[in-house]
Amino acid sequence: MPTFVYMTRCDGCGHCVDICPSDIMHIDKTYRRAYNIEPNFCWECYSCVKACPMNAIDVRGYADFAPLGHSVRVLREEEKGTISWRIKFRDGRTKDFVSPITTQPWGEKIPELAKYDVPDNEALDSSLLCHEPEYLKVDSGLPTIDKSKFKQGVYY
């Protein structure tokens, strides 16, 4: 389901208006709060959900994968460089995830492909892609998982 705004928590700051790639988050004329003007066009990209400083925007997932009673909420803490998710199943189970924010500042970290060497025919015919194998970081061998960490048998 597309995004919706808890208008009582919204304070009309405009961050969601600015960030929406679909340009569908706008300001209501009666209350000066944000709302989704065209839910059909929403991609559920979560940009507005993450950008809202008041955490006033939420998304309810489509019913085929997210049944009623669930909750998916995200907290983006820019000063710490983290983005945290809390998934709540409808039976009460909760899973928390914390990831780094990988947004880079404007203009930095863009690879200057024009400055790379043009690959010869041998490189083009090989199965390795650009930057491989260095960027795979497998110099110390492929990662392995100890089989004792796997649970035995079928479980639900």
């Binding site: 009582t8 928590r9 304070d11 009309g12 700051c13 405009g14 961050h15 208006v17 600015d18 960030i19 706008h26 300001i27 209501d28 004329k29 009666t30 209350y31 000066r32 950008a51 400083p53 008041m54 955490n55 909750s71 909420r73 995200v74 907290l75 803490e77 820019e78 000063e79 710490k80 460089g81 983290t82 983005i83 945290s84 998710w85 809390r86 709540k88 928390d96 995830f97 914390v98 780094p100 924010i101 947004t103 880079q104 500042p105 404007w106």
Partner: protein, 259 residues
Amino acid sequence: MNPFSELPIPALAMQIYVIVMLVLVVAGTLFDVWHKRSAAYFFAAEKKGREARTREIDSGEKASIAAKTIAHDVLASGEFCNQRRRAAHLLTMYGFVLFVVTTAILVFGYADTEAAAPAIWPLLWWLGALMVCIGGYWFWFKIRVDVAAEGNPWYRIVQADLFILSLLGTTTFALIWAVLEAAGAGWLATLFFWLFIIAATVLFGSVPWSKFAHMFFKPAAAYQRRISDADGGRQNLPPPADKPEQFGLGIKREAPRHY
């Protein structure tokens, strides 16, 4: 100088007007709550939040949370992340409080000319009106989200602007009237006095249709949010992350001002 003492209107009439405005605010807020069912939804959301709690809060902790809400969210307008918005709101909020309180003091205490008001009250009246004008016009021309994020021109007016425009009208006309009154401008001062009264009546009478009542609702909402943060419910949001060291520094976002 107390501008209210020079008026040809009896003090009783002015006092009745102030009381009528107060009654309009109270009645308007109660009607707004009933009509929009804000209280019903607020308590339903609070009940849902309480069901998601992971710990109990005793009354001592609730009192401390209430004190923090008043000190940080109400008196210091701490919910604003944007410091310019926060500064404009503080100016407007304290200016409005000063203006209203000193108007009441001047009208109820010193409206008849026999007892001259101590200089502090008219001074604070002027200061309050000026603070509202500075904060309010700054908000109107620069900070208002319609202008800052949506790119609308500053002269585009919608219903959401009812509160700020009537507030700015009240204080602007009040200041102009007081200046003209002090200069003895006769009918011009009277004109601006009546414009001031019309703007003030619109401000206090339009409570069900404007943002006025946010000054009562926002502290309750802030208190409710702090309670839900303290009892573990956190409106289903994840807790603040504790892993920043291994993830590195964050990105400073750009201010959303691309117009």
